[in-house]
């Protein structure tokens, strides 16, 4: 009897010793961190747990998560999409400029789209009943188009993703500002703004994002396309030899990334009730950082939609907490950047443990 209780003690102790490692390796590690962070902050800033703050926090998370899903796909094939911010800005501007109900000529009279899209009595489609629908479709089409450009140049010209998406980012962000002379387009119709409006728990953005996330994860884990993504990210040469249609996959992946950015732009623009030419500017760090914190690898072959959710949740929670603590903006950015760096280090460590199991 003494022996068996000794054995029980031994296994319990070894379980305790293994706990840190098991925690580190668990898929939910980032989620545990979120919970821990939340619990840690509650006594200091109890306002963080109020329904008002939480609903505000989550309404920021949904669109950010939507666009991060697209980035996750791109990361899996060992690429990166720096242009998502510009896609958000451009689609916001073009969408709004199709349906604004009232346009101030003093502000927009000199803009290049005055007379073609914007008029004194409103935007070109502001009086059409199908206006909002066309605007939404146009935004998505632009996202897909820019994604196609990215993907095609990367696949055919073999220019690194970093370079290509940086160039498209610069070009389309500038284009967005050019179209509206840096002014926000306001007076958007109710048909559009209702999308992002506060409607309690089951808001449209939540539903849209969850549907996107579930479909995306399904594609990743259950379809041939998903397997192709992982194989290209792991060893592109072996994937090509094994018959994976590399160019097609790359183009489709970047198109999906553009699509996700457009979806996010719909949510953001409708929530703010305006078309903003700089809408997507501040998000790049959060998008890529969220995906990396969640566990997707910058060198490809690794990534899951759920992981990205945890990463985005963590980063948003952190930002939320820091602003509630009245930390100045630039300090928030510095803290976020450091967290992403730590996340990358943790990722490397996790890979090493899994590889050698020593």
């Amino acid at each position: 009897m003494a022996v068996s209780s000794q054995n029980n003690q031994a296994t319990f102790v070894s379980m305790l010793k293994n706990l840190p490692r098991r925690l580190l390796l668990s898929e939910f590690f980032i989620f545990y961190l979120c919970v821990a962070l939340f619990a840690l902050l509650m006594p200091f800033i109890p306002v963080i747990a109020t329904p008002y703050n939480l609903s505000n926090l989550f309404s920021n998370i949904w669109p950010l998560y939507a666009v991060a899903i697209g980035q996750t796909f791109v990361l899996i094939i060992a690429g990166i999409d720096l242009s998502q911010g510009a896609i958000i800005s451009l689609t916001s501007v073009i969408g709004a400029s199709l349906i604004a109900t009232a346009v101030d000529p003093a502000v927009f009279g000199q803009s290049p789209i005055w007379g073609s899209l914007l008029f004194e009595d409103g935007a070109v489609l502001s009086h059409a009943s199908y206006g909002v629908a066309v605007a939404l479709l146009t935004m998505i089409a632009i996202g897909l188009l820019i994604g196609f450009i990215n993907g095609a140049v990367i696949a055919y010209a073999r220019i690194p993703a970093f370079m290509v998406t940086l160039v498209t980012q610069m070009f389309f962000a500038a284009l967005a500002i050019y179209f509206v002379k840096s002014e926000n387009i306001i007076n958007l119709p109710k048909g559009f703004t209702v999308i992002g409006a506060d409607s309690g728990l089951l808001s449209i953005p939540l539903v849209m994002t969850i549907v996107l996330a579930v479909s995306a994860q399904f594609v990743l884990s259950r379809t041939m396309f998903g397997r192709w993504l992982y194989s290209i990210g792991t060893n592109i040469r072996a994937a090509v030899v094994s018959g994976v249609p590399q160019k097609k996959v790359i183009i489709l992946t970047y198109m999906f990334s553009g699509f996700c950015a457009a979806v996010a732009s719909i949510i953001y623009s409708s929530r703010m009730e305006m078309g903003r030419p700089t809408l997507g500017a501040p998000f790049l760090l959060d998008i890529v950082g969220g995906a990396v914190i969640g566990g997707s690898s910058l060198s490809g072959g690794k990534g899951k939609v759920l992981w990205t959710f945890f990463g985005v949740l963590f980063l948003s929670l952190l930002g939320n907490a820091l602003s509630l603590l009245n930390v100045p903006f630039f300090w928030i950015e510095i803290v976020k950047g450091s967290v992403i760096l730590v996340a990358a280090l943790i990722d490397v460590t996790r890979t090493r443990i899994l590889q050698y199991n020593v």
Binding site: R222, T223, M224, F225, R227, W228, Y230, S231, T234, N235, R237, A238, A239, V240, V241, S242, G243, V244, P245, G301, N357, V358
Partner: protein, 444 residues
């Protein structure tokens, strides 16, 4: 006189719960050449990795010159005088020979951290002359042939004052002349007092070079003794544990009259010129040539990985000139690569993920491309057992954890799952042991 430079005493090593080395004890005399043979997965590489400081052993002892030896990392091994010439060479191809020599220890000008190029070049020249290689030390390694690269590796080992040099499958990429040169070098090193451990599947070479032969099977030393106690048959039967009648299985299929693949006038500038042949159904066509003759390139061109300038490729009567891997696979052509690490396998993916990659389109539902999990899993299980791939769990273990021969079987299995009618197989048994070779030949 027993002058043991190295002693392995009861070495045990397990990976992921699988015992890879079982109570291994080997005595190695100073100045001898010891041939280490065994099937893939027998434990040779693991044992050498332990010696070289790449992995630690679990229990047991290693005595180097009578003193306990347990290296934490490869640099410790190097400082103890052990040099490891790996099967996959460890040179930096974009640096020069001299830079490769001194990568960890550049001679500096006085106290300032500037490179003393003159000294580097002079010393590098010295080491190169030790291996009889007449090439400027400023040449980038990229420009060297595999044989020359290997000699550079040996020179590097000598530059680090190694007393024990381990050669792991050194001749797989060498031409006949380069092999002769290597053997001459090994003899000279031996005469100057170096101890050599020589690992190879080419048993004839081992028999020629070694003073003693050690046979590993399934992690245990099954036979060890002086060369006089061995011949090829005995070596094979100790390695495999059974008597292998022949090295090559009987041919049962006969070639028919129908032409499966017709190649006419195929040319690519600088690589191949006016290639013509016809491949009939049921036939095995062997393509033979020295290294650099264009065999692998020809295979890659026919499959569609590389482009070509002129000529026709006709598959089953239909001319198919714009070739890509995707199209070739649709035409039921398979390509088993010579280079499994870079072209054949996704090393960090599981065996199952690798196996299913080519045939995946056959296991998906029509419009949505959703994978039919169950039928795919069954097909993978079938192929794994058909090829006898030694793996614990094909759906969990990564491909890189497998031995070379088993990895090759995975590559083969991946292509077989697509039911090819034409197989292009490029050096399928490179680095594969005798037993697995036979199995692979039988499958073909």
């Amino acid at each position: 006189m027993n002058d043991l430079i190295l002693q392995f005493c009861n070495i045990e090593k397990s990976f992921f719960g699988v015992r890879v080395l079982k109570n291994v004890s080997i005595d190695i005399q100073r100045g001898h050449v010891v041939g280490l043979i065994g099937e893939n997965g027998a434990g040779k590489s693991t044992l050498m990795n332990i010696l070289g400081g790449v992995v630690p052993f679990d229990t047991g002892k290693i005595l180097l010159d009578g003193k306990e030896y347990a290296p934490h990392d490869p640099s410790q091994a190097t400082h103890s005088g052990i040099a490891f010439i790996h099967q996959e060479l460890n040179l930096f191809t974009n640096l020069s020979i001299a830079e490769n020599f001194f990568i960890s220890d550049f001679p500096l000008v006085g106290k300032i951290p500037f490179l003393d190029r003159k000294q580097i070049r002079a010393k590098a020249q010295e080491f190169l002359s030790l291996v009889d290689l007449e090439i400027s030390p400023d040449t980038t390694v990229e420009k060297l042939s595999p044989g020359e690269r290997q000699l550079v590796e040996v020179a590097k080992a000598l530059s680090q004052d190694a007393s024990i040099i381990i050669f792991d499958e050194p001749t797989t990429s060498l031409t006949a002349r380069e092999t002769e040169k290597l053997f001459g070098l090994i003899k000279r090193l031996n005469e100057s007092g170096k101890t050599i451990i020589y690992i190879s599947h080419i048993l004839r070479d081992v028999l020629q070079l070694a003073d003693e032969i050690v046979v590993l099977r399934d992690g245990e030393v099954v036979k060890a003794g002086p060369k006089s106690e061995f011949d090829i048959q005995k070596m094979i039967s100790s390695m495999v544990g059974r008597y292998l009648g022949t090295l090559y299985p009987e041919r049962t299929a006969k070639p028919t009259e129908q032409v499966a693949l017709d190649v006419r006038g195929l040319s690519k500038a600088g690589i191949v010129h006016d290639i013509n042949f016809s491949l009939h159904k049921g036939e095995i066509l062997g393509v033979f040539g020295l290294m650099g003759s264009g065999r692998s390139e020809l295979a890659q061109i026919i499959f569609g990985i590389e482009t070509y300038d002129g000529g026709d490729i006709i598959v089953e009567g239909n001319p198919r000139n714009h070739r890509t891997p995707v199209k070739s696979i649709q035409q039921n052509i398979a390509f088993v690569t010579e280079n499994r690490r870079e072209e054949g396998l996704l090393m960090t993916s599981t065996v199952a993920e690798n196996m299913g990659l080519v045939a995946l389109p056959h296991f998906t539902m029509p419009v949505t491309n959703v994978i039919r999990q169950k039928s795919l899993i069954d097909a993978i299980r079938n192929t794994v057992s058909l090829l006898q791939v030694k793996v614990n769990d094909a759906f969990k273990n990564q491909a890189k954890g497998l031995s070379g021969g088993n990895q090759q079987k995975v590559v083969l299995g991946k292509w077989l799952m697509n039911n090819p009618s034409i197989l292009i197989v490029d050096e399928p048994t490179r680095g594969v042991d005798v037993g697995a070779k036979y199995e692979i030949y039988s499958i073909l």
